[in-house]
Symmetry: D2
Subunit: 345 residues, 4 copies
């Protein structure tokens, strides 16, 4: 029996990706789509400017879009996937959680709150139980769970592998991020053709803070953040999908390239429907991973890394993920699957 789910912010770029992930899903059934007031009342096919290749999935185009408000979504919907501008998310997500909905959110608001779990299932699935604390503190029947920013997700799985094996001390990371990460209208063609945009606003801080929360521990009552020092420089490049990151890592115990690659290969995946079989794909070719060639590995849910190199103070490797699948919509869906498995629905 499938869980009835809704998509909050269903007409946006990540909203469309969510629909692509959810429509064929065995455990979830799309039962509600919300958008801004101007879209409410229209069939989805009319409300959304559909931009993906391929048509709107069967049955979805006819769904009547409702306003992004708890009162507009049916009581028989249990799980909501949310991808909103943080200023909107900040307002509406708590309202949905208070009204009893469980929300798996990709929006950036609240990601660092003490009682909001920030989760990558393969990295820190145990943090999901922070929901108990959240419910206690906020008096919610529902819950709010977050996935990290796309640039953070791209590097954290290999970093978690290094942390487990060698103890992670510091990270220096430079990103080459695809334009889809900024949303459909986020980067104009005049800005990016024959160009690079350095220093994406806010992105660097997200990588520096979210990493510490994700790699932190949870004792059932409180989160303890990891003390790894992260310094990030984030750049936008003329690529459609797929973030590539150059990652320098220093570890407490010496990690040689071969040991690090082994740690990556040994990092377990999880038993969730959308999880990749092999979480981290390690390439031997120094010219891989490349965004266009590797972003779709395992349906866009795998992380691809290149050969590890030794540096004066540690190691250097490239990490790549599909930013709107593993880094956004697919991340929220994985978290939804985790919520289901753990009995929160």
């Amino acid at each position: 029996m499938s869980v009835r789910v809704g998509v909050i912010g269903a007409t946006g770029a990540v909203g469309q990706r969510l629909i692509q992930q959810l429509a064929p899903h065995d455990d979830f059934e799309i039962a509600a789509l919300t958008a801004s007031e101007s879209s409410a009342g229209k069939p989805y096919s009319e409300a959304a400017k559909w931009r993906a290749s391929g048509p709107i999935p069967d049955g979805v185009g006819d769904v009547t879009v409702v306003e992004t408000d708890p009162s507009a979504v049916g009581d028989d919907v249990d799980l909501l996937f949310s991808s909103l501008p943080s200023s909107v998310g900040e307002r509406v997500e708590p309202a949905f959680a208070e009204a009893g909905y469980v929300v798996s959110s990709n929006s950036s608001n609240g990601r660092l709150d003490d009682d909001v779990p920030l989760v990558i299932p393969e990295v820190n699935a145990d943090h999901v139980d922070l929901i108990e604390v959240q419910r206690d503190e906020r008096g919610w029947d529902g819950a709010l769970l977050k996935n990290p920013n796309c640039s953070t997700i791209t590097m954290v799985p290999p970093l978690a592998a290094l942390d487990d094996a060698f103890g992670l001390e510091s990270v220096t990371v430079s990103t080459l991020q695809a334009v889809s990460g900024a949303g459909y209208d986020g980067v104009t063609s005049m800005e990016i053709i024959d160009n690079v945009l350095p220093h994406i606003g806010g992105e660097e801080t997200k990588m520096e803070t979210e990493t510490c929360k994700l790699l932190g521990g949870f004792d059932g009552a409180e989160l303890s953040w990891h003390d790894v020092e992260v310094s990030a420089s984030c750049n936008r490049v003329p690529t459609l999908d797929g973030h590539l990151e150059n990652v320098w890592a220093e570890t407490a115990e010496d990690a040689g390239p071969a040991e690090a690659e082994q740690a990556f290969r040994d990092m377990p995946s999880v038993d969730l429907p959308s999880a990749p079989e092999q979480l981290i794909h390690v390439h031997e070719d120094p010219n891989r991973p490349q965004p266009r060639l590797d972003r779709d590995a395992e349906g866009g849910q795998a992380i691809s890394v290149g050969p590890v190199q030794e540096t004066p103070d540690g190691i250097l490797f490239d990490s790549l993920a599909h930013n709107t699948i593993r880094g956004a919509a697919g991340a929220s869906v994985l978290n939804g699957e985790l919520l289901l498995e753990r009995g929160y629905l």
Copy 2:
């Protein structure tokens, strides 16, 4: 009275940029153009597939191309600019120097040789006198002077400023390099559209070694290399011209962002015809420098850097230069001007 100069490898991408720089030059007069055997005997307009916007400079199209061989270039030519694949440069550049020509070379061969000066005039002009040692050791009448790789040049001027002011200890750098850096045919469109190519072959080692030589001292007899530790990760992005680099620097003495920016602004230029008025342009906008907007600053000879940020262990900034002007052809021309000023012609 102008110096008669020649261009070795005149039909290549950097060769064409050299011609664009030299044709209007007040001190230099193009008197010889060399290329491979198949081009010899043809007028330049026929031998070269001219790719620049704008026509071949007046008078150059009719010059008869000669073979890349000392015997084919007139005795009345004093200075040669060379940009060749290193395997070819290795063979022909010493032959020209032995035959009495002074060669300002952009080719990568021999850059690290003990008796070959590797020079950026604003950084280490004094190294040019290593030519005396070179002549002693090799018995040459001519000389061989090198400029560094384009990716190295992009970051070394600001690093030199930091070294002078605070003592440079280590550098971590990630590059976003334009396709022109690989030569006209170096990167196919199928490789790079909607993509990024990580780990450009050989580039990282060049940055790591050349930087130490450039920042080293010269006591009149011997070079001492700087012991700064450099770790580089080099990426090709879909940009035509202009390398952007994310540079993390650790210094002996603490350099705050304001002090570092001041050191950049204070870094003096040199009094050579092609040198920029202000060597390093410091932007206040965190979204600058950008390749397309800033590569042409001061005719492509200035270095542009963005606002400096503090990191856990030092500072972080972006540096940008036009890779085929400041990073290649223009670098060789500047070195030619230095050779003239210092009396080597």
Copy 3:
């Protein structure tokens, strides 16, 4: 003594190009910049998000932006350059003309009105005197003059040459248009990277109608439109600047390729400061013109065409112009110069 001019819609993409054209102009002096209410009162450097390479021209950044309203622009300003969305232009341009200002406009509103001259100086400068009719009919002290759409301007000069020499009967044209033609935010990177957008809205009708008006006659009282049949298909491609058009033309009298090319070369330019020396540049290389290589010919004011080919029913050639210079801002400036020369200021 220079004419005091203003720019209406000064913060937009074409507005910025207008400022780049006007700031160094010998005959014009920038005395007023208008923009929307939210920009009024701010210095231009703050009101405009400057996107051109190179800084805001000297003196312009400090100009206080005023609202786009006749009452806000000083009486000592004689000529206004306008580039606005047509819905705005429709409202404000007549108000300025009524208030006594002469307006050289790039906006599409009113281009086809019977008493509004639509002018390319090299093609139909005599149409400018339609202003007399306009003033009679509308009771204006000022005047409203239009330049055509960028896609129209790109092909009309060579078509005018063919019409004069051989009589033009029909035109079939396919365009490959740069993204800047849609304004700075007009085309998102997600739409156009690795893609082409066919059938640009409204563009085809503009080419089909404006051409007939431009090539028409004016007897001092009334315009007679040319009866050439034009069929256009307009496409957006991932190019920054420069529209390339494949043009098939059928003429009353047979025009062979050589004769047509001669007609292009013989098409006279005009004696205005911004006009190119040679209006139409005819390339011999069948792979030219190309947008990136040829858009900047003569400061972006020349038209470049490729070798003419024979077809079953006529001839075929490629035509190219810089769409935001010759096709927009530069076109308006040329028209301003024509107004000055003809004594309308």
Copy 4:
């Protein structure tokens, strides 16, 4: 029981696409891969620089590449797929056919020969029997069958529909072609970023002649070419895959937009494994088809057209196909399936 097939020129761009099409094919089994002398003897995984996303299909990487020579390919191979430079194809394809192999070729050599069938199964499957004439005339046991150029295939199915319904008289076509059409190394990034290349060499003549042969009749003994007049202008744009074409058609009997669209929808597909269910997809959105969104329709084998417009002399529509699938590798595979169905294997 599957047919044992080989790929001639297996390491090239179309060769790789052929392998992607053939490896999972139910009726064909890859039994031989040929390439140039330097690749012979190596396993395919080593001989080919694999560029597709996703790995080399299972079992193919270990196949030992043999030289492109009939004596090097086993007797138990019946059908060869060939994609070679025409100068090579001209030499080796007849040798294979003479040696008894049936060759389905994408190479351009011989496409216009009187006794060589040029076939798109949905358009002129009956031409395949020209093989009887070919065998008679040339004394071959094998056979040589061609598919047209990618730019031709993109427009001919809708043109055939128009011809059947209304009688086709003339065609004017402008193409916006993807870089993959020139082969992996055919277009450098320096040529095409921020640019368009007009007048692709040889392409226009192919469209003008191949169309007449494809639409011609075959009476069992001789081909009669169609007398439609075709004028083509071919352009390369910065798109990876998918040719978009603006097509103007004049018909004997008047075809209104609605009738033409109906003719497109009614054009039957064929009953071959790789054929699309619906040959021509007719979009209602005037901004479709677009290369990135529509090239993969029905596995890249469908043709997508946009809304039909009326023009002064006929109709105008856009047509799009995946150039390396429907336009090359997939076309050859379809022809191989036709050869099997018709009993030529």
